[in-house]
């Protein structure tokens, strides 16, 4: 549940003063001016939600959990007109019979039991909704509604009005495929387990020689029932191993499934022959047990983080619909229908979907998705705005000059890195061993058979098959999934979520690490504000705080956060000029905050690249605040440790302003590159790989997407793991960034644990083979040896991974 409680902990962090926290969302309230029913709210958005819920007597929402609400962003008012588009509607609907329709929506905001409660009681807010069901782990909401009395558009509007805005991702249909394969695995395990249990029961008389002498036909009937039970295991439960082995052989690769498939085949057909020709009882018990254990291993390895999506591309970031202007009328169309020359209206906080030219309005573009830099850039009429930029401020009109998929940023996805299917350059340990393993086993079996052939051809056949049976690498095949599955879970507990277990093996093999700058090694929300060059007394700081409170500019927010301990005055008037600064009058003071020529009539010359915010009060210059990025805690120590083992590099989309500071952290031997475009980053990874490096890339934004994809292991760093992050192999919670070094070393240790367990299973194999080549492998020996080796290897890997994790303080 560690992913799910994120919001709750975030709330409790901020909720220091209980009396002043918002009744709806629990955020800190400035004052108690927004009040209703004796309850205080932090903003009108929260109050509105409370009004909606209380009008419908849904008070239980607030009684289940304390302050369960989601702070509403009042600025974003989405227009859901586009959901009337028939084609789009059909892509959302699961099924419909004309009146009753079912849709499944993704609600990223749900985080507690109150959320489940309100979402399952939607029918009390909208009569057209018949039933709604939450899947909390997948954060999905399934709604059955009556087409005649409501519509998808109305449902979206309702959900948005109470703070649970659905995330529209039209690519999500693919996810259902993986769910299906999960079910198939459950079926296969169920059937294998059922057959294994019953076969064991029926084999007991044989092991203990009970009743076999008095009732010889009993032995025979039991053996035939065993065959019956083995058939579904062989043909259904084990089918994946055959197809995987066959696929490998076709590509001329001997993967770990080849010796397994060989073992299963021999087990089945030798048992069949023994029973039909009344030679012996066969090895059906070993066969069913083997398949059952192998499938359990597969289930253990298949731990997935349902709520996280590792396959996102730019479409997840971009709007689904866009408002275009035709003549004087506006209409909304799905974003993929945009063509060159369309005139688009971009409102506050909306993302520009295609490269365009600014036609009308004052654009103030936040390129944080593209460059990582969150301070907006001002654009004038006729300027080119690149796709991925976010407009801050008034609505503007732009004309598209490129298609969505051909834009500067989105072109990145046309790179071959995104075309090729996931084929890793790092072969998994088990697969690299299995080639030699298979050859050795086959030659031992052949040699044993050849030796016995001169004495007795019948024994020769027995020996040959017995070697293949006993050498079937069950323990070998189980050690990898159990070690890596456990490692994956331990990482998950430490807020490091990996796409699959193979990433761990890749992580253990890396030789170079590449960092992105903004958002990766610097903290997204926190900037350091330096007051050394500002000459302000406490009263003036209060004025400053009161003024910046009105602005949503990231720099204003940083200043506001650095002045938390001061109180606030009421602002009389406030004006913000995008790209320049803010002007506010408070009591008898006028305060100007912004860039140099906005605040100071006479320009003060400044030389360095750092961000400076100038202040003047009543036209009296008060100097400037120096705002710089704050590096993540522990960055220096982490780099210090990693530097010794790996080649490090830094890629930044920014200018060289901080070069010296970074040079001090990274040292002289690391490469630091600035002004890197998303394509440059991708190509840098490629050149490293050509030089034979195995690269770990750490990034955060869409601008790193290409590099994350191209690298051997791409990890995206996120402040909130449930947020969108680009396609990657793993997501690391930014709070755990300082453990990066430990994660890599734990991955390496996991690999060593696998090697150790390989050695253990080889020892078992040697014993088994001694039995086999001497022709004394009885069914009971096989039935004991196989589970014994498997279980002991599983226990060894589980205990040792936990032990190592404890030593590394990861558990």
């Amino acid at each position: 549940m560690d992913i799910l409680t994120h919001k709750q902990t975030a709330i409790s962090d901020e909720k220091n003063e209980i009396g002043k926290s918002c009744y709806h969302c629990g955020d800190y309230c400035q004052d108690d001016s927004i009040k209703l029913d004796e309850k205080i709210f932090c903003c009108n958005g929260c109050k509105t939600v409370y009004e909606i819920l209380s009008a419908n007597k849904l008070f239980e929402y607030y009684s289940l959990e304390k302050n369960p609400g989601i702070k509403k962003n009042e600025k974003i008012k989405r227009n859901y007109e586009f959901l009337e588009d028939l084609e789009l509607k059909n892509r959302l609907i699961d099924f419909t019979d004309g009146t009753i329709t079912s849709i499944t929506l993704n609600i990223p905001e749900m985080h507690c039991s109150s959320c489940i409660w309100i979402l399952e009681n939607l029918y009390r807010l909208n009569n057209g909704i018949i039933n709604s069901r939450v899947n909390f782990l997948q954060k999905t909401l399934n709604i059955y509604f009556n087409e005649t009395s409501t519509s998808i558009k109305e449902i979206f509007e309702l959900l948005a009005s109470i703070g649970y805005e659905p995330a529209l991702n039209l690519g999500q249909k693919e996810e259902q495929f993986s769910k299906l394969s999960y079910k198939t695995l459950y079926f296969k395990i169920g059937i294998a387990g059922f057959c294994f249990g019953n076969v064991m029961l029926l084999s007991f008389p044989e092991y203990l020689s009970i009743g076999t002498n008095e009732l010889p036909e009993m032995k025979k009937i039991f053996a035939y029932i065993n065959i019956l039970l083995a058939v579904p295991v062989f043909f259904y439960s084990a089918s994946d191993y055959f197809s995987s082995a066959w696929k490998g052989l076709k590509k001329k690769i001997i993967n770990i499934d080849v010796p397994i498939a060989l073992g299963i085949l021999v087990l089945f057909f030798r048992s069949l022959a023994e029973i039909i020709f009344s030679i012996g009882p066969g090895y059906i018990d070993s066969l069913t047990g083997l398949v059952f254990f192998l499938l359990i291993g597969r289930l253990f390895q298949n731990k997935t983080y349902d709520t996280l999506n590792f396959e996102r591309n730019y479409k997840s970031y971009f709007p689904i619909s866009i408002t275009i202007k035709e003549g004087n009328s506006e209409k909304t169309i799905p974003v993929e229908k945009i063509s060159v020359g369309n005139r688009i209206v971009i409102r506050n906080d909306e993302i520009i979907p295609a490269d365009s030219i600014l036609i009308k309005g004052r654009a103030n573009i936040d390129y944080s998705f593209v460059t990582g830099e969150s301070i907006p850039v001002e654009k004038k009429n006729g300027d080119v705005i690149y796709a991925g930029g976010k407009q801050i401020g008034e609505a503007v009109e732009v004309e598209t000059i490129k298609d969505v998929s051909q834009s500067y940023l989105t072109q990145l996805w046309n790179d071959e890195a995104f075309q090729k299917t996931e084929e890793s350059r790092i072969v998994s340990l088990a697969n690299s061993i299995s080639k030699y393993f298979t050859i050795i086993i086959l030659s031992i079996a052949g040699a044993g058979a050849a030796f016995w052939f001169s004495i007795d051809s019948h024994i020769a056949f027995n020996v040959f098959t017995a070697v293949l049976i006993v050498a079937c690498p069950c323990a070998l095949a189980l050690s990898t999934p159990f070690t890596l599955g456990n490692t994956l879970r331990i990482f998950g507990k430490n807020k490091f979520y990996l796409k699959n277990t193979h990433v761990i093996e890749k992580l253990a093999a890396i030789t170079a690490i590449v960092f992105d700058k903004t958002g990766t090694i610097t903290e997204n929300s926190l900037s350091e504000v330096n007051f050394d060059n500002a000459f302000l007394n406490d009263e003036e700081k209060i004025l400053l705080k009161s003024a910046v409170r009105n602005s949503s500019h990231p720099l204003s927010k940083s200043i506001y956060r650095s002045l938390l301990e001061f109180s606030i005055h009421k602002t009389n008037s406030f004006e913000e000029t995008p790209g320049k600064g803010i002007f506010a009058s408070i009591n008898n003071f006028t305060i100007k905050i912004g860039n140099n020529n906005f605040v100071n009539e006479k320009l003060i010359i400044d030389d360095e690249g750092n961000t400076k915010v100038y202040i003047s009060i009543n036209n009296d210059p008060k100097g400037y605040l120096l705002i710089s990025n704050k590096y993540r805690t522990g960055l220096k120590q982490i780099i210090e440790k990693l530097k010794r083992v790996y080649q490090l590099a830094l890629l930044s989309g920014d200018s060289e302003g901080e070069k010296q500071k970074l040079r001090n952290i990274f040292g002289d031997e690391s490469n630091l590159y600035f002004k890197q475009s998303p394509h440059d980053k991708l190509n840098f990874i490629k050149t490293l790989q050509v030089k034979g490096k195995r690269v770990l890339m750490l990034g955060d934004g869409l601008n790193d997407a290409g590099a994350l994809k191209q690298s051997d292991v791409g990890i995206s760093i996120s402040d909130n793991v449930n947020n969108f992050s680009p396609a990657c192999d793993g997501i690391l919670d930014s709070k755990m960034f300082h453990r990066l070094n430990d994660f890599i070393s734990f991955a390496i240790k996991s690999k060593k644990i696998i090697i150790t367990s390989f050695i253990i299973s080889f020892i078992y194999n040697i014993f088994g083979i001694i039995y086999a080549v001497t022709g004394t492998l009885t069914p009971i020996v096989a039935a004991i040896l196989m589970p014994l080796s498997s279980i002991s290897v599983v226990l060894f890997t589980s205990f040792s991974t936990n032990f190592v994790a404890k030593k590394e303080k990861l558990l």
Binding site: Q138, Y186, F194, E214
Partner: protein
């Protein structure tokens, strides 16, 4: 001793019954979500009350229509 065949038959039949129950459970989606039901059960009572309310509402409406 031949009673053992009857017993084996019976035990297999019961086991097959459980296997079918398991397959049905997986098929009907009971393994899809292993978390939400644990929370849902905590507010089931209230909900049923409401459901009957809304159902009677619906019936009234249908009657009116």
């Amino acid at each position: 001793m031949s009673v053992i065949f009857v017993l084996i038959g019976a035990s297999l039949a019961i086991a097959v019954g459980f296997l079918i129950a398991y397959i049905w459970a997986v098929k009907s989606g009971q393994y899809d979500d292993k978390y939400t039901p644990s929370i849902r059960i905590l507010f089931d009572n209230q909900k049923k009350q409401n459901e009957t309310e809304s159902k009677s509402d619906l019936n009234n409406k249908q009657g009116a229509a």
